[in-house]
C-alpha cells in the first residue's frame, strides 16, 4: 500500500525538515480545530468546497497560490542564506537537502504559486468581464481546482514523508531515471505535476470555451477587455502544450515504473527527447503565466490614467503574435546541447522576434499614460515598477537569445537573474497589482493604501538588491545551483543579494500587515459603489462583492469599454438606464464532485 515508503521516510535525523514539518502540522491542526470549534464546517462545505461559482473557485485558486508563494519564498531564503554562509565552508544545508530545495522552489513557484494565481484571476474575471453568469463548465471548473490543490498537497507532503526530487524543477534524464535517482523524490514530482497539470488543462478548456462561446449580447471579439484576450491566448496555449507535459511525464513514469526506454541512456533511449519535449511545454508555459499578467496591466493602466487603452487592436494582435511565436522558441533553453548552427540560428532569431510583440505592448502602456490624468495608487505603482523591471529583464533575455552569447551565460547566475527579472517583474508584480486592484471587487473593501505603497517599495527595492548582484555574479562565471562556493571574489555580491532577501522579507511582512490592517478597518474601507477606481469594464458594473449570479439581467454591450460607455451615457443624459425586465434565471447547483475526484482514494476506481 505504501510502495517505496516506510517509517524511515520520516526525516527524524534531519532537524530542519523535522521542525518545519512539526510547525506546519501543528498550524494545520490548529486551523482544523478552530474551524471545528467555531462550527464553520457547514459554511465551508456549502459556500466554498462544493461551490461551482467561478468567483469562489477563483478566490480559492488565489489563496492556494499565495500560500505556495510563501512556501516557495521560504525555500528562496534558505538558498540565498546557504550561498552566503557556504563560502569556503559547508554551510548549514547538506547537498542532498539543498538540491531538494532548489527543485521544490522552482516547481512550487511556477506550478503551484504563479499558475494558481493566474488561473484564479482568469476564473474570477473572465465571466464578469464578458457579462455572463459563470464559465462554460462550472462543475468541471471545481474538479480542475481541486486536482491542482491535491497536486500542491503532494509536493508539501514530500517535506514530511520521504523526500522531494533533487533534479532541478525539470527532471532531466538520465539523472531522473531509476538508475541514478532510485528514491521517491522524482515520483512525488511526477504525480504532483501530472495531477495538477490535468487540473490546469481542465481550466484551460473551460476558459477557451467561455471566451469563444459565452460572451453577452453585443460583446463581439473586438469589444472584449484585453484581459479576456490574454486569458484566451493563455488558455489556448494551455490546451496546446499541457498535453505535451502530460505525455512527457507519462513517458518518464513508464521508464521509472515499468523499465521502458524512452529517456534512458541505454537500450536506445533518448534523453535529449525529454529535453525537447519538456521545453516544448516549458517555454509556452512562461507565456501562459505572463500573458494574463499583461492583461492585468492592460486593465490597470487605462483605469488609473483615465484614458482608453492606447492601440487596443495592436494589443490584441501582439497578444496573439506572442501566443503563436511562443511555440517556436523552446530550443533556446539548450543552445549548448549540440543542435548545430542552423537550428540554433532559427531559434535565436525566433526568440529575438518574440520580444517585438512585448515591445509593442510596453509602448502601448506608456502611451496610455501619456496625456492622461495618472493616479499613483498602489496598483499603478506595481504597474510602473513592472515596466521598468520587465524592460531590463527583456533586454537581458534578448542577449541570452543570441546563441554565441548564450554559450557564455548558459546555466550561469546571469540566467537565474534574467528569468527572475521577467517572472517576478512580470508575473508576480502583476499578481500584486491585480490583488490590490480587484480586492475591493472580491471582498467588498479596499486594501490599506499606506501599507500597500510600503510593500511595493520594499518589494521593488528588495527585488533589485537581490537580483542585480546575480547578473554580475553570472558574468563573473558563477554557475547556478551551487551548494557551496570556493571563490572569495564572489562573496561581496552574495552578501548584497542576501541583504536584498532581507528587504523582500520586510516586503512580505508589509503585505501581511496590509491585509490585517485592512480587515480590521474594513468598515472604513468599505466599497459601497462597486466601482472604487472609476473602472471601465463590466465587472465594475456589479456590486462589490458581486452576487453569485453576477448580473440580474444580462448586459447588452454597445461598444468597447462596456461599463465606461454606460457611465458616459448616464452623465450625458443625466439619468440612469431604465429599470430592466427581470426574468427567472438558471444557475448550476453546488457539487462535491471536484473534491471527491481529487481526494477520495476510491474515486478513481469506483466512479
Amino acid at each position: 500500500m505504501f510502495g517505496k515508503l516506510d517509517l524511515s521516510a520520516i526525516p527524524l535525523s534531519q532537524p530542519i525538515p523535522l521542525i518545519t514539518s512539526a510547525v506546519v502540522i501543528l498550524l494545520a491542526l490548529g486551523v482544523l480545530v478552530l474551524i471545528t470549534v467555531k462550527g464553520w464546517w457547514p459554511y465551508l462545505w456549502r459556500d466554498w468546497i462544493t461551490s461551482v461559482d467561478h468567483k469562489r473557485i477563483g478566490v480559492m485558486y488565489c489563496l492556494l497560490g499565495v500560500l505556495m508563494l510563501i512556501r516557495g519564498f521560504a525555500d528562496a531564503i534558505m538558498m540565498r542564506t546557504q550561498q552566503a554562509v557556504a563560502i569556503n565552508a559547508p554551510g548549514y544545508l547538506p547537498p542532498e537537502h539543498y538540491n531538494q530545495i532548489f527543485t521544490a522552489h522552482g516547481t512550487i513557484m511556477i506550478l503551484f504559486g504563479a499558475m494558481p494565481l493566474v488561473l484564479g484571476f482568469m476564473n474570477f474575471l473572465v465571466p464578469l468581464q464578458l457579462g455572463v453568469r459563470d464559465v462554460a463548465f462550472p462543475t468541471f471548473n471545481s474538479v480542475g481546482f481541486w486536482l491542482t490543490a491535491s497536486g500542491a498537497l503532494l509536493v508539501n507532503v514530500s517535506l514530511f514523508i520521504g523526500e522531494f526530487a533533487r533534479t532541478g524543477w525539470l527532471p532531466y534524464p538520465p539523472l531522473s531515471e531509476t538508475a541514478y535517482t532510485p528514491g521517491v523524490g522524482v515520483d512525488y514530482y511526477l504525480w504532483a505535476v501530472q495531477i495538477s497539470g490535468v487540473g490546469t488543462l481542465i481550466t484551460g478548456i473551460n476558459i477557451v470555451t467561455t471566451v469563444l462561446k459565452m460572451r453577452c449580447r453585443g460583446m463581439g471579439y473586438l469589444r472584449m477587455p484585453v484581459f479576456c484576450w490574454t486569458a484566451l491566448a493563455s488558455s489556448l496555449l494551455i490546451v496546446a502544450v499541457f498535453p505535451v507535459l502530460t505525455a512527457t511525464l507519462a513517458m518518464l513514469t513508464l521508464d521509472r515504473y515499468l523499465g521502458f526506454h524512452y529517456f534512458t541512456n541505454t537500450a536506445g533511449g533518448n534523453p535529449m527527447m525529454f529535453v525537447n519535449l519538456v521545453w516544448a511545454w516549458g517555454h509556452p508555459e512562461v507565456y501562459i503565466l505572463v500573458l494574463p499578467a499583461f492583461g492585468i496591466f492592460s486593465e490597470i493602466f487605462p483605469t488609473f490614467s483615465g484614458k482608453p487603452l492606447f492601440g487596443y487592436r495592436s494589443m490584441v494582435a501582439a497578444t496573439l503574435f506572442i501566443c503563436v511565436v511562443s511555440l517556436m522558441v523552446w530550443l533556446h533553453h539548450f543552445f549548448t546541447m549540440g543542435a548545430g548552427a542552423a537550428v540554433n540560428t532559427f531559434f535565436g532569431i525566433s526568440s529575438s522576434i518574440i520580444a517585438v510583440g512585448t515591445g509593442v505592448k510596453i509602448y502601448n502602456w506608456i502611451f496610455t499614460m501619456y496625456g492622461g490624468r495618472v493616479r499613483f495608487e498602489t496598483p499603478m505603482l506595481w504597474s510602473m515598477g513592472f515596466i521598468f523591471t520587465f524592460i531590463i529583464g527583456g533586454l537581458t533575455g534578448v542577449l541570452l537569445a543570441v546563441p554565441p552569447a548564450d554559450f557564455l551565460t548558459h546555466n550561469s547566475m546571469f540566467l537565474v537573474a534574467h528569468f527572475h527579472n521577467v517572472i517576478v517583474g512580470g508575473v508576480v508584480f502583476a499578481i500584486f497589482a491585480g490583488l490590490e486592484f480587484w480586492f475591493p471587487k472580491v471582498f467588498g473593501f479596499r486594501l490599506h493604501e499606506g501599507w500597500g505603497k510600503t510593500a511595493f517599495w520594499l518589494a521593488f527595492i528588495g527585488f533589485w538588491v537581490t537580483f542585480a548582484p546575480l547578473y554580475i555574479l553570472g558574468l563573473q562565471g558563477m554557475t547556478r545551483r551551487l551548494q557551496h562556493i570556493n571563490f572569495d571574489v564572489w562573496a561581496p555580491w552574495l552578501y548584497v543579494s542576501v541583504a536584498g532577501v532581507g528587504i523582500l522579507v520586510l516586503g512580505v511582512i508589509a503585505q501581511v500587515t496590509q491585509l490585517v490592517v485592512s480587515i480590521r478597518n474594513r468598515e472604513k474601507l468599505r466599497d459601497v459603489t462597486g466601482d472604487p477606481w472609476d473602472g471601465r469594464s463590466l465587472e465594475w458594473a456589479t456590486p462589490s462583492p458581486p452576487p453569485f449570479f453576477n448580473f440580474a439581467v444580462m448586459p447588452n454591450v454597445e461598444g468597447e469599454e462596456a461599463y465606461w460607455g454606460i457611465k458616459l451615457r448616464a452623465v450625458e443624459t443625466q439619468q440612469l438606464s431604465p429599470e430592466p425586465a427581470y426574468e427567472p434565471i438558471e444557475m448550476p447547483l453546488n457539487s462535491p464532485v471536484g473534491i471527491y475526484t481529487a481526494f477520495s482514494p476510491r474515486s478513481s476506481v469506483s466512479r
Binding site: V132, A136, F137, L201, G204, I205, N206, V208, T209, L212, K213, M214, R215, C216, R217, G218, M219, G220, Y221, R223, V239, A240, V241, F242, P243, V244, T246, A247, T248, M251, L254, L258, G259, F260, H261, Y262, T264, T266, A267, G268, G269, N270, M273, L277, M554, V557
Partner: protein
Amino acid sequence: MTNIELPASQEAIRRVREDPHRLGHRAHGADEPVEGAGHGATGPASKRILVGYGFWIFLLSDIVMFSCFFAAFAVQRDATAGGPTIGEIVDIPRVAFETAALLLSSYTCMLSFAAVNARNRLWTEIFLFITGLLGLVFVLLELQEFIELAMRGITPQRSGMLTSFFGLVGLHGLHVTLGGMWLATMMAQVLIKGFRREVVHRLICFNLFWHALDIVWIGIFTIVYLMGSGA
C-alpha cells in the same frame, strides 16, 4: 399550416429546418445573426453547443498528447538496440482486420446517433451495442498481438523502438478500452434515463470521442504498421 398570417413562425420553422442545432450556419452571411450559436455579438451559445465545443477542445488536446507519442516513435524507430526491427514485428493481416473493425464501429456509432436524433431508444441501443462489440474485437486483437509479441520476448523493456511502439499503440488501446466503458455507461443511461438533455449531450461527446480515436488509429496504422512493414 397558415403561412400568410404568421411570418414569424414561418421564419422560425425555416430556421429550424436549415439549422436544427443553431450552429450558426447562416450567421456569417448578410442574414440576421442566429441566436444561441455564440457567434459574434449574438450572446452566449446554447448548452448543447457549449458541450460539443468544449469537448472538441479537449479532443484537440488529446490529439496533441498522441502527437508526442508519435514523435517519440519517429525518433526511436531505428533505436532497436540490436533487437527486432519494426518490420519484424508488424503483422499486417491482423492489423487490417483490427482497422476494419474499428472503422466499421465508427459507422455504427454514427448510425446510433442518427437513432438518437430520431429519439428511437431500441435502435440507439442496438447500434451502440454493435459499436461496443466491434470495439471489443479491436481491443482483443490488439491484446492478442501484444501477448504473442511478449511470448517471443518482444517487450517494451527490450529497446527504445519497442518502448515507443508499445507506448503509442498501447495508449490508443487504452483510449478504446475507456471509450468502451463509457459506451456501456451510455447504454445504461439511455435505458434508464432515456433521451434527457444531458444524456444526449453526453452521447454527442461520446460520438466525437469515438470518431477521434478512429482518426488517431488511421495515423498509427499508416505510420507504425504500413510504413513499418516496408522497412
